[in-house]
């Protein structure tokens, strides 16, 4: 895997107002993300994980700390000029109900002012990758949960970002769809070679797709960083029979249950 460094988070802290008091959500996060990596942030539901993603994706500004990208240091979060390098997949699909599937994808192109036939072709391509090519003119309220989430993924990829950020992308789906989409996510990662940063609360999902897993506790600190060396070949329906997989799974389950108490 090429080990070129994509971005580095230095001393990121985030604090939310609670009346006059404050709630510490992220406490001194230092993280280096290599290009082409699939980083999975795992942990119990709390404010930390999603907030960290929003800071990386340029939705929120960090209270403290800086982000380094292409040797440029950003003190106050990602500037607008660099947002084109990020694609954000939300937990609740977050499609615009008044636009058809295709138009939802076009939204990114319109906002990033990407015109021309190259991009039009890319819209078709992205729909093909997620298998929605013959649903281009359908409105979101006529789609099933899984298909809405696929449209969300396609939309986040359409403007060819360097990094795909996913905030519990399959959290709201039923187990069968969640399982299927995890495999599809693995394929997309292999095919597009994009850097992926994903938040999840399911150990199985993290082990299936990620190349590196970071476990975050309720106080917003990383308490464990594990390299997920389950071989790519083994990551299919039979993954449960892979010894390394079960070993890592037991280890992660123990860590997570410890946080739970």
């Amino acid at each position: 895997m090429k080990m070129k460094e994509l971005m580095r988070l230095q001393g990121i802290c985030k604090v939310f107002d609670k009346g006059l008091d404050e709630l510490v959500c992220l406490d001194d996060i230092n993280l280096t993300i290599q290009e082409g990596e699939y980083v999975c942030i795992l942990g119990p539901s709390g404010c930390g994980k999603s907030t960290l993603l929003k800071i990386i994706g340029g939705i929120e500004k960090p209270t403290l700390g800086s982000i380094v990208m292409d040797e440029e240091v950003f003190e106050d979060g990602i500037p607008k000029s660099h947002l084109k390098d990020f694609g954000f997949v939300f937990q609740q699909h977050n499609l615009l109900e008044w636009r058809t599937v295709q138009k939802n994808l076009r939204l990114n192109l319109e906002i990033f002012r990407l015109k021309g036939s190259v991009w039009e072709k890319r819209v078709e391509e992205m729909l093909e990758i997620v298998g929605l090519q013959d649903y281009a003119n359908i409105y979101p309220h006529e789609l099933s949960g899984g298909m809405k989430q696929r449209t969300g993924i396609a939309r986040a990829l359409v403007h060819d970002p360097k990094v795909l950020i996913m905030d519990q992308p399959f959290g709201a789906l039923d187990a069968i769809t969640r399982n299927m989409l995890s495999y599809e996510m693995l394929d997309i990662w292999k095919k597009t070679q994009k850097t992926m940063i994903m938040v999840t609360n399911s150990v199985e999902e993290a082990l299936l797709v990620s190349s590196r897993i970071l476990v975050m506790n309720k106080k917003g600190e990383f308490i464990s960083k594990i390299v997920n060396d389950v071989p790519l070949k083994a990551r299919d329906e039979k993954i449960a029979y892979n010894d390394r997989y079960n070993e890592l799974r037991k280890k992660l389950d123990d860590i997570v249950h410890e946080i739970q108490e």
């Binding site: 929003k54 994706g57 340029g58 939705i59 607008k80 000029s81 947002l83 990020f86 954000f88 939300f90 609740q92 977050n94 615009l96 109900e97 008044w98 939204l107 990114n108 319109e110 906002i111 990033f112 409105y139 979101p140 309220h141």
Partner: protein, 252 residues
Amino acid sequence: MKGNKKWLNIVSPVILLIVILVCWELYVAVSGIDARILPAPHVILSKLGERFMRDLSGDFLYTIQVILIGYCISIPSGILLAALCSQSKLVTKAITPVLILMVVIPMLTLVPILQLWYGYVMKVRIIVVICQAVPIICLNTLRGFTKVETAKRELFRSMGAGRFKTFVKLIFPNALPQVFVGLKLGCIFSTIAAMSADLAASNEGLGSRISVYSGMLMTDMAYGTIIVVALIGIVLFMIVAYIEKKVVIWIK
């Protein structure tokens, strides 16, 4: 809806209408009530058909103009005002009580004052309709512009969308259902404002025609005119509802 349920949906209101009309006819025939107090439906309709072109068409066009011009001016101005005010939270907080105050004032009370200014012209009633419709349209549109899901705002922030692009591609389309609530209420308020202005000004328009007929005890023509007014109100409302069905297609 099962097959027969759909059919029932259309027929049952019609049956009710027929039942009412028949009872009305029977009551008038049996009780021998004075035609000036309660005329029979067929009398009303025949009188209306007979004398509509001659007597009522002038006032009919007058009232239609008042309502339509007033309403059509109120729509863009109401929405534009809401769009401007929604840009800043402070302005929204300041304008909302003013809007509520204006929505609550029956604008027909302005007729005597406006008549002092402009005399007995159509402009007076158009102003009354505008003053009654703009606040309610603006209030509802403003509510639509300020209530946007945080996830959708985050989506636009994640793409660094500017204020104008966010408004055009997110805030306005997202608020359309609430805007149409305002438009439907605006349409009802416009008809009521026009009619009450007619009654207050009483020289032209269907409203004044009704008070004239009532004064002269020509009850059948008075009822006839009321039916025409009711039709104007309903047709305008249905047009707005139809446009809503065509524009707001994404609600199940």
